[in-house]
Amino acid sequence: MSHRLLITKTPKCYVGGAFIRSESGRVMALHDASDGFFANIPQCTRKDLRNAVEAAARAGPGWAKRSAFNRGQILYRLAEMMEARAAELAEAVALGGASQAQAAEREVAASIERVVHYAGWTDKYEAILGSVNPVASAHFNFTVTEPMGIIGVIAPDDSPLLALISLILPAITSGNCVVALASNTQPYPSILLGEMLATCDLPGGVVNLLTGLRSEMVPTFATHEHIRALSGAVNAADRKTLKMGAAESVKRVRLLKAEEPIDWFDDKMQGVEEIRALIEFKTTWHPVGA
């Protein structure tokens, strides 16, 4: 019986619609649950982050202009791509060892459900968050939402797929672009997720997924002025660093406490309030006359 040598995959990060290695050439060795070598994961740098922000900036205006219906279709397509490769995703989630296979399947299922949930929000949140305001003067006055622009997402170590996608989805539902840093300890699901994002008709650059060390990347997330908001789950020290940096360009900050347990499966972790946190309100006045 002849043994065929298996082809191993070189994990690459999904940035600007392409699959890249870190510009630094650095990698982090990733091990499976039994501590065997699994793959080398890119150890991205602040320059990779900068490049990802550039990619997001190129993609942003076009994504924001897509119709809400179209954004919904694309997100639903993402769910289709994930469902088709759900088993593979579950294996990736289980790779970290912390998860039992069953738990991994549950996480993948919840992640797919979450994608479908937001696919349905794209053409509805505006009706809930926006308003027509009955001002006392002879003006028509309405408030609509607008995406903030580029959102920096920093995922926690746990729930490597569900947490990451729960942070990304509300941002892109409303037309933002995302530059995300995946779980430090379990980055491999983000590699697979990138492959699904690449095949779901999402324009390249709308979501950019980096792997690497939070300790190296957080200061750049904090101070990069083109990033308009930060969303993630990090520890107290990182929260402070991110908020200090955010002050320099009045960045919006929405950070959960990674040191406390977060139930990413909870329905409260999804919905219009999550979308609201990453949009701007714009109010327009116009006279009513003949």
Binding site: S137, A138, H139, P287, V288, G289, A290
Partner: protein, 312 residues
């Protein structure tokens, strides 16, 4: 007058003259009403307003006797004090010769509405004949109505030609062109009609808001549209056109607001009765009443003023 080529559509005219935002201009004029006039400046304004009144009677029941008392009131608005005469009396053509007996040779001019006032719905020939008759009887000023039908149906050339014909019929008399703003309805239309009229009348001729015979008359808003049209026309051509709001200005306070609009829009050169008039009747007594209040320090009862209708 040189022949003026009429614009072929409102849109083209607006490309030249610009449009008006209704809410914006009403906010502007609301600011005039917050000006506060005290003491000398109030008396100056009230006296100025008196001197700008075209004291008007345009009733089917007008008689030579009614016109006679109107003329007396115009010459001497109040029996006490040094209140100036009004600018003019304004009557129907049949009453011109009667007015002439009383104010002829004085500073008070005789203005006559003509051109099938107030509708203008008579053949042009008839309208021009009426103008000739009024002028021949001694009218110093003719208040005509524009052909609103022609304007609203886009026949700008016809509207302007008719005005030009009346200009010619006026001879030496001053012309006031009534736009009848309530029938034009929008500020854009009022601005457009103002320009069309101004382009065929002479320096010192007037544009005028209303006949006083429709539901709405002079307001600060349409007054402002016309003042700004006059300003833009003057700055572009050097031709100063005069302005007459008419109808609905019944109180001294209102009149002062209109004058503040003139002061802040057209400036000092329009603060005289050669360039600005009020078409009014009841207004005169309220102006006199307020002047008497300023002179005596006491609020006045209406029956102290001749021709007052408020007897209660």
């Amino acid at each position: 007058m040189p022949a003026v080529k009429a614009p072929t559509s409102l849109r083209r005219l607006f490309d030249e003259i610009g449009t008006v935002d209704q809410v914006g201009i009403e906010e502007r004029v609301a600011k005039f009403t917050t000006r506060s006039l005290k003491k000398k400046s109030k008396v100056f304004g009230l006296r100025l307003a008196v001197s700008m009144v075209d004291l008007t009677t345009l009733e089917g029941k007008d008689t030579p006797g009614k016109v006679a008392s109107l003329c007396q009131k115009a010459l001497r608005p109040h029996d006490i004090g040094d209140i100036p005469p009004t600018a003019a009396v304004c009557v129907y053509p049949a009453m011109v010769k009667h007015a002439k007996k009383h104010v002829g040779g004085t500073s008070v001019k005789i203005a006559s509405v003509a051109t099938a006032f107030p509708s203008g719905q008579a053949p042009l020939k008839t309208r021009l004949a009426e103008v000739h008759a009024a002028v021949n009887d001694g009218a110093d000023e003719i208040d005509m109505v524009i052909n609103r039908g022609a304007f609203l149906s886009g026949e700008f050339g016809r509207m302007q030609d008719e005005i030009a014909a009346v200009v010619e019929a006026c001879g030496q008399s001053t012309l006031k062109v009534i736009l009848e703003v309530s029938e034009l309805e929008t500020y854009d239309h009022i601005r457009a009609a103002s320009f069309l009229a101004m382009r065929v009348i002479r320096p010192g001729d007037f544009i005028k808001t209303s006949t006083g015979k429709t539901s709405s008359n002079a307001t600060l808003g349409n007054n402002q549209v016309m003042l700004e049209a006059i300003r833009d026309h003057f700055l572009a051509t050097g031709v100063p056109i005069a302005m007459k709001p008419a109808g609905g200005i019944r109180t001294a306070k209102q009149a002062l607001h209109f004058l503040i609009a003139v002061k802040e829009t057209l400036g000092d050169d329009w603060l005289n009765n050669g360039r600005y008039r009020f078409g009014a009747s009841a207004l005169l007594n309220d102006l006199v009443r307020q002047l008497e209040k300023e002179r005596t320090g006491a609020y006045q009862a209406p029956w102290n003023f001749s021709e007052a209708t408020e007897g209660y």
